[in-house]
Amino acid sequence: MERIPILRIGEMLLVSIQVDLQDHTALMLQDDLSNRIVETGAKGVLIDISALEIVDSFIGRMISTTAAVSRVLDAETVVVGMQPAVAITLVELGLTLSGVRTALDVDRGLRMLRDSVEFPVVERGVTPDDGRAD
């Protein structure tokens, strides 16, 4: 049975989906991820879907649920690398994955997670850059 590997990088977990997902593989990943977040105390989860040729409502729901569950477990989820054709199809289908953060690639996703995770710890006492906010 196929299992999607979950890699740990510091305080983050990285999942790169490289296969055409079967429904139960997706469900298993959802379970595995919540277990690993608790085990490792990870603060961020990065899901790379750049190799996915389609995301249908089932996989979309898996992503949304994973993000919601992670948040309850105090970890941020960022989905990176969605293909333009997949994004167009998802919107047409009526799924906007609201509540899920996205980034163009793994690099930017990691930066986004670091910013949201490390900011309260590293920069405590430093005045936030108010002038930049819109």
Partner: protein, 278 residues
């Protein structure tokens, strides 16, 4: 076997060949208003004349094989005239002019019996004219289809404004087919250039209705799924008023009045500030 009386028009043409061709060319030239050189036209007319005589006057169906050469010639002429931008009337007149020429000829002769022959010629000439119009119309349609395709490609120039920022200046009416092309081009550009900000400028869009707003909203949502934010700029006062009057929900799309404001917002969001030299 002597020719049937009905086909006397062929003799009529043969007997007056030079005069017919000269008058025919002159009539066609007048209608084309000097946009073709006389010698080119005279060549065309002579070829049509030869093709017409190939039927020996015995064949009235222009689809017959004796007229193969003539039809090929008309195909060619119809296409050429369409591409040269002549109107259908101008294109067909080069054929129909023959009737006037022969009629004039008969009038001067006062030969009443020959009018019957003319009626027969008339039928053939009408068919030829219509045939040419058909190829003319086909050629036009091809041109229009090609132009539509070219326009579709032309109409989606995604430009890189700055590191991390691309812009899509939209011009013209947005329909579903075009929006799909536009959307794909924009999203692909975001991925290719690794840009997190897109500005969709709608200064050149004449009207925003519910459908156009829907399309914009979908583009913004799709961009968000990729990890990029869109700003819609160039919203003219009338458009803002229609949007409100129609009760269109722009949702949480960021809007700016003009491109430079949108650019400024996009730069600030990517952590850049514009500072004037003091």
């Amino acid at each position: 076997m002597s020719p049937q009386p009905d086909h006397q028009w062929i003799d009529l043409l043969r007997e007056n060949e030079d005069e017919v061709i000269a008058a025919w060319t002159a009539a066609a030239e007048a209608s084309l208003a000097g946009r073709m050189t006389g010698s080119d036209l005279a060549n065309d007319i002579r070829e049509i004349y030869n093709g017409l005589l190939a039927g020996e006057g015995a064949e009235t169906d222009i689809r017959s094989s004796v007229y193969d050469g003539l039809r090929a010639l008309l195909n060619d002429l119809g296409r050429t005239r369409a591409r040269q931008g002549f109107s259908p009337t101008e294109a067909a007149t080069s054929i129909f002019a023959l009737k006037q020429v022969v009629l004039d000829l008969l009038g001067r002769r006062g030969d009443l019996a020959a009018y019957r022959a003319f009626a027969n010629l008339s039928i053939i000439v009408d068919d030829l004219g219509l045939y040419m119009l058909e190829t003319y119309a086909n050629a036009r349609e091809t041109v229009i289809a090609q132009q539509a395709e070219t326009l579709l490609e032309l109409s989606t120039p995604v430009v890189k404004l700055w590191d991390n920022i691309v812009a899509l200046p939209l011009v013209g009416t947005l329909d579903s087919a075009r929006t799909q092309v536009v959307m794909e081009a924009l999203l692909q550009a975001l991925v290719d250039t690794g840009s997190e900000h897109a500005i969709i400028d709608i200064t050149g869009v004449p009207a925003v209705d519910t459908q156009v707003a829907q399309h914009l909203l979908k583009t913004v949502q799709a961009a968000r799924l990729l990890g990029a934010e869109c700003i819609v700029s160039g919203i003219r006062p009338q458009i803002a008023q229609t949007v409100v009057a129609l009760g269109i929900e722009f949702g949480d799309i960021h809007t700016k009045a003009n491109l430079s404001d949108a650019m400024l917002l996009a730069m600030r969001r990517s952590g850049l500030d514009i500072v004037g030299r003091s």
